[in-house]
């Protein structure tokens, strides 16, 4: 079923534009790849990512994304993937945790900082912390404690102090600006 509704389309190359026939579906970019969703337009992005694309780094958090484990980046904002219907994402670009690292595998500075600070408990909600942390760092290069206090994520493992240190580590490292 995954193959039916998800397909990777080659992006057109500049200077070599060929007219294409009109096709049904919702076009969007996820982690730089072009996808066309032809299934139910009301399907939440979360289930498209997990069931159709098998991009499982974005986790189920709750019916309203309550604990932040399903956050993704849309236009540099952290948004709960279960609250986004596919129809709302036409021509949008989405970044999931799988898309934070560079294509050559170089980690985003915050991913590296999470490893360096060992800011990991069970790890299930870590992708959500990373996404909201990256969104914060894109909004504010030198976030303070008050900014970090506003992160929406919730977790019982108690990684919060290490997550705080990881974000501060990136903020303090000028070479590591995202």
């Amino acid at each position: 079923m995954a193959q039916v509704q998800a397909q990777i389309l080659p992006t057109s190359q500049a200077g070599n534009i060929v007219p294409e026939p009109v096709r049904e579906g919702i076009d969007l970019h996820i982690n730089g790849e072009h996808y066309r969703h032809t299934g139910d337009p009301q399907m939440p992005l979360l289930w498209y990512l997990r069931d159709m694309l098998r991009l499982t780094g974005t986790k189920y958090a709750g019916a309203h994304g309550e604990n932040g484990a399903d956050l993704v980046l849309v236009a540099d904002k952290a948004v709960s993937a279960i609250t986004l219907s596919m129809s709302s994402l036409a021509d949008k670009s989405v970044t999931t945790v799988e898309g934070l690292a560079a294509n050559d595998g170089t980690l985003h500075p915050l991913q590296q900082a999470f490893i360096d600070e060992d800011a990991i408990g069970c790890g299930y909600c870590t992708p959500g912390w990373l996404i909201s942390g990256v969104a914060l760092l894109r909004r504010k290069k030198k976030p303070g404690d008050d900014d970090i206090d506003q992160l929406p994520n919730r977790c019982r493992c108690g990684c919060q102090t290490r997550v705080r240190r990881a974000i501060m580590r990136v903020a303090a490292d000028k070479a590591g600006q995202p």
């Binding site: 139910d40 019916a63 309550e66 999931t96 060992d118 069970c122 299930y124 992160l151 108690g158």
Partner: protein, 755 residues
Amino acid sequence: MSAGKTRDAIRLDRRRFLQVMAGAAGALVVGIRAADAADAPLPPALLGDNFHDLGAYVRIDGDGNVLIGARDPDTGTGVATSLPRIIAEELDADWNRVSVIALGLGVGNDNGQPRWTYGRQVGGTGGSIPAAWRDLRQVGALARWLLMQAAARRLGVSANRLRCDSGTVIAPDGRRVTYGSLAADASQVALPARAPAVKIAASYQLVGFPAGDVDAHDIVTGQARYALDQHLGDALVAVLVHCPWPDGTLARIDTSAALAVKDVVKVVQLKPEPEQPWGSTVIAPAVAVLAKNTWAALQGRTQLKLEWKPGASQDESSTALEQQSLATLGSHAAPTTRVRDDGDFDAASKQAARRFEATYFQPWLAHASAEPMNCLVRLDKDRARLVVPTQAPQKAWAVVQRLTGLAPDQIDIRVPRVGGGYGRRLDHDFVAEAVMLAQAVDVPVRLLWTREQDFSHDYYRSGCVHQLNAIVDRKRRLTGWHQRMASASALAHRGGSEDHLWSSELRADQIPAGLVPNYRSDWYAQQSAQPRGPFRGMPHLSNAFAVESFIDEIAHQMREDPLKTRLRILGEPRQLPLGNGVTLDIGRLRNVLQLVADRIGWKNWLRSVNGLGIACWHVDGAYVAHAIETAMQGEKLTIQRVVCAVDVGRVINPLGLHGQVVGATLDALSTALDPAITFKNGQIQQHSYKDYPLASMAQLPNDVEVITVPGDRTPTGASFLAMPTAAPALANAVFRVSAVRVRRLPLMKELLRML
């Protein structure tokens, strides 16, 4: 599939053998297996090249890569890192060349009975490290011994003149041979008559040194595969609606609209098996919608038309249960169990110079694990394959075996990293549900609980009431202590003896047992249809809050420094036997208490404008204390500083221990501040994190200062060690800063009510 050939075994003790196998492509493989009842011939090894079939702990390949299996489920406790490091230490492996794999359940067939290939496999109960210290060191030591014998032959030097370092054997003249090049020969070396000696601590290069989580890179890149992220064939996705009453029944059902949803395949009813204990069957009557994908299943679920009929529990409420508990404690009825009775409290009470009394109330709690209950199952005629996020795969196996009737070794249970356990995943109701559904549809099934179900159908921590009485003599010595606790046991409906229901609720050896000449503790059973089960830190969690708050109250009323009161109650450093083989090391307990006091600046406790609070506790041979500093601005409470000292004996991974201590501290603070489960008309009132709020970053301290007492005693577990003392230290600090004594959790609600 079996690439390895069993060679030989050395007896470790009465029950276990070290087992050595020659793996594929010249690999050396060393494992542990349980002893057969009558030392029967060794069974065929489960060893294979497929990771999931790896039937041993250590595998050294010809290229020098070392694969080490982690037997216990890692729910965020760090055992996937710490257990393999114990083996790698004895092996003198190069940690950079070590890959760790989660072993999954190891089970063989012993005449129809299960034989647990890896021994104990339980995560998140504090037992993993002590168990590993008993047997996993031997695995590494044997592998190292075999490699050295092979090196001795190759180099023409006797083995006792060789040394090992980071995956290399080194001769006195400086010649070096790598483990990889020795692996094939080592697998042919005759075994020693006895298990080789383990290393002395002075030569440790991994144990006692910090290591980050082995799964960290996979986790931060989104590549880590939890059970929900794995696939077995094209499984149907099953989502459920549970009856709001655990003892209710389905009165009417109309599935037509649900079945009309595109990609919905089937609707199936599930019923608890009444004769089965809690945790091994369906938790409440349920209706499942099975569909080709999650979105279709969830949509089908909203189209179900169901009418539930309540059971006898429809009159239950958590408020009424608490009043019932209070009435029971006030009635002077005989306790269900007199847990401990030293001296004569009644006689001592008549001689008392002063008496103290207080009652503490703590709410029902949910586990609120990040990854919801789920299970992936594929049933074939002669095999069951499951991916289960469990803390106890052997218990999951028992559920699958009972429902399928398969032979022990026909059940394959994989256990990937688990998204939080906290005791919830010691129960396997969701495994029973998934197996029943797979049986009903005859294709693989992925069961997914929604967040709402996780909150409203849990094996909760029971609410509890503690009534404490204490007496002091004219010299202010604590001469009597009477603790009375009323709660609904987590061991009820689990097939155990009625005499032991108390043991999930309190401990016979908890503070101040053994420190007071007349000490009595009584437990009063309360009844509820709401399921209960193991919960992180229980029974220490609720008892430490009551006891360590009460000691502060006694100190306050006697106009004493609560640190001095505690030290006086503890007395001089000594070994204090508490019965049942438990010995309390008063020196170690005093030490952690003094350490946090010194670090937080306790000498200013009375003059500080902020509130300082302190608490200490002991858990199965480990010692913990918290000191907390709080500030209040109007109604805003700020936790400014938190210091925690722990003494766990030898530390395996200091970075991992730090993470567990910080994590348990923050979890305990979060649990104390706001959340509570309540029920009314027999129905749970909380359905999401919004109703059951875990603490935000802003509510939690920016840092937790951890002091680890160095030690060389046998290591103890630490996954919940720092839970019990955080809440009482907080409440004691809140009293100092606000003059409000919080005797009821959740703390914020009570504080705001009393201000």
